[in-house]
Amino acid sequence: MSQTIDTTAPGGSGPRQANGVAAQPRRWRLAAYPSLLALPAVLLLIAAMAYPLLTIVSRSFSEPEWGLQNYVWFFSTDVNIQVLLRTFSISAWVTLVCVIAAYPYAYLMTVVGPRMRLVLILCVLVPFWVSGVVRTLAWVILLQDSGVINSVLKAIGFGGVKLIRTPTGVVIGMAQVLLPFMILPLYSVMRGIDLRLVQAARSLGARPALAFWQVYLPLSLPGVFAGAIIVFILALGFYITPALLGGPRSTMLSTLVQSQVLSLLNWGRGGAMGVVLLVSTFILLALAAPLMRQRHKQASRS
């Protein structure tokens, strides 16, 4: 398999193409079905996504017996509803914090020189290479009552603030972990915006703030939406960070699922929670879709 792919992949290995004549018939076969190249990914998705998802859905209706009892339980338990709403609200806050933090950063990346840009990109990517658990534990040290932040606040004369085991602490930690997912799509859209458009707006009489608001911002919105969706959806399913930084009042749905499945071995209820989260995400995205539909094509850049 790997050999046949090698001979047909664009820009594929040079030496192999040297035995051109012999490879000819085989190359023809694969060239006729280029979609076969997607086969590994399709197989992986079926095995690792579709099958488990179907299992979860079917178990949520079938354990311990067939019926809707798991869903009835979910919606008739106040705690579950509360946690579901909290999951959405924390995710929304995380998304908002990420947009506010990422927008100027991504803009800065588009205007600095190539060397500075590399530094900025590295600042985004290096945390990616550090395990999420390590980063979250670092946040524990920073946020705890006797931690770095509170020590500094006290040293300069402010009273301490409660951060660890509060929703605020969870939002801070999650926003830091998810920030790259906002910065990168934003940067890729912003890089495509022609800054001469802002200059044009100024020549037509728009003061700088107005030129930004009326020209640059609308053109950067696709990046904001793309990043927001990625961050929001990832935040909905976050487990480690809220579990370590949060307290009982900032439990998210993934923690409840974990306790149902691993502590209580109640696969049916855990499955039902997952399905509820999935379906409500779909509904939310469907509601947001009209907002994101672009009414224009992006200006082509030469």
Partner: protein
């Protein structure tokens, strides 16, 4: 002219001793230029010559390191771009992709708080002027390059600025379209009476459009004048070579009895003017001032003559173009009307021209370096 009334709408521009440095690089070096109200002034020069920098300074996108700049008699140094009320047309159109054509053109009017009815009227008038009225509801991405540039032009004139700046607006378009739009721009200039400042590196375009042309080279203005003045009376070798086709010949000069003569390729040539002492002379000849005669025929006293061989003969329809290689290897370009005697490659010919057309210029190697 009927334009005397509308001409009042154009603003005069005065640039005095403008210098712009970026670190050690001098983009503008003590440039002074006066542009009359309603004039079509083209800033012509190769890339990096300072013409676009000058435009950006007037538009307010770039600050001067030193110098003065006034529009309509008032200094505008330090006035931010959005308060200058100057129309700008960019090479890459710079239409807002998220607004329709109509919204784009209405944008400067909206910013000025002009009420809806008046706004629509003026948008329609501007789009009519560039013949794009049927496209008001399209998005820029649905238009061709030429159409986009016409919309950009409408957007830049819709608020009646006294001055319109254009930065190579036709640079991205193909030749036929460019030639047609040049005539359109000329017409619009005539109808509006606004002062136009047009940046281009295309000397033909400059000749077609301009009342006057300022030739830029290496951050300085080499010469300002009408196209005819620049072509017939170039002040420097650079101008002579940049505008139109030309042949340059070099030789040793000597002055005796008020007459300057040169020895080119072993033959003596008489010049019509003298150079300042110390300057190395070069002769600049226009192809249509040269004529060809079969080799070694006697010439009139008022003519110069050099012997050479035809090295290329091109039929152009309206006439012929010849390359003549002289004895010293230098090449002359000659345009001959069809009714003149025709020659073939290899023929020995005498290259002739009137002494009065034989003007000496100071040799300048910058003229060659920048013409790559």
């Amino acid at each position: 002219m009927t334009t005397s009334k509308t001409r009042e709408r154009g603003a005069a521009i005065d640039i005095r001793n403008a210098t712009k440095r970026y670190g050690s690089f001098t983009a503008l070096d003590d440039v002074s230029l006066h542009i009359k109200p309603g004039e079509f002034m083209t800033l012509l020069g190769p890339s990096g010559s300072g013409k676009t920098t000058t435009l950006n300074v007037v538009a307010g996108f770039t600050d001067l390191t030193s110098g003065e700049l006034s529009v309509g008699g008032e200094s505008i140094l330090g006035v931010p771009a959005h308060k200058r009320n100057i129309g700008v047309v960019f090479q890459h159109y710079a239409l807002f992709p998220h607004m329709t054509v109509g919204k784009n053109v209405a944008y400067p009017l909206t910013l000025r708080g002009i009420e809806k009815g008046e706004r629509e009227k003026r948008v329609r008038r501007a789009l009519d002027m560039v013949k794009m009225a049927d496209f008001a509801h399209r998005y820029p991405s649905e238009l061709s390059g030429g159409q986009q540039q016409r919309v950009a032009l409408a957007r830049a004139i819709v608020f009646d600025p006294p001055l319109l700046l254009m930065d190579e607006p036709l640079g991205a378009l193909d030749k036929k379209l460019r030639e047609w739009l040049q005539l359109e721009i000329k017409r619009i200039h005539r109808e509006l009476g606004t002062t136009f400042v047009y940046v281009t590196h295309d000397q033909e375009e400059a000749l077609v459009l301009s009342d006057r042309i300022a030739v830029f080279n290496q951050g300085r203005i080499e010469q300002v004048g009408t196209g005819r003045e620049l072509y017939d009376e170039p002040a420097t070798l650079f101008v002579g070579k940049f505008i139109g086709e030309s042949t340059t010949l070099r030789g040793n000069a000597e002055t005796s009895g008020g007459e300057t003569s040169l020895t080119v390729a072993g033959q003596r040539i008489v010049a019509s003017n003298k150079l300042a002492n110390g300057a190395k002379p070069v002769i600049l000849l226009r192809p249509e001032k040269l004529s060809l005669a079969p080799g070694n025929k006697p010439q009139a006293d008022s003519q110069n003559s050099l012997t050479g061989n035809i090295s290329e003969a091109i039929y152009l329809g309206s006439g012929s173009k010849y390359q003549v290689t002289l004895r010293d290897g230098s090449v002359a370009i000659v345009r001959a009307p069809l009714e003149a005697q025709q020659f073939a490659i290899g023929d020995e010919v005498d290259l002739r021209w009137h002494i009065s057309d034989c003007k000496l210029l100071a040799d300048d190697e910058r003229a060659d370096l920048t013409l790559t």
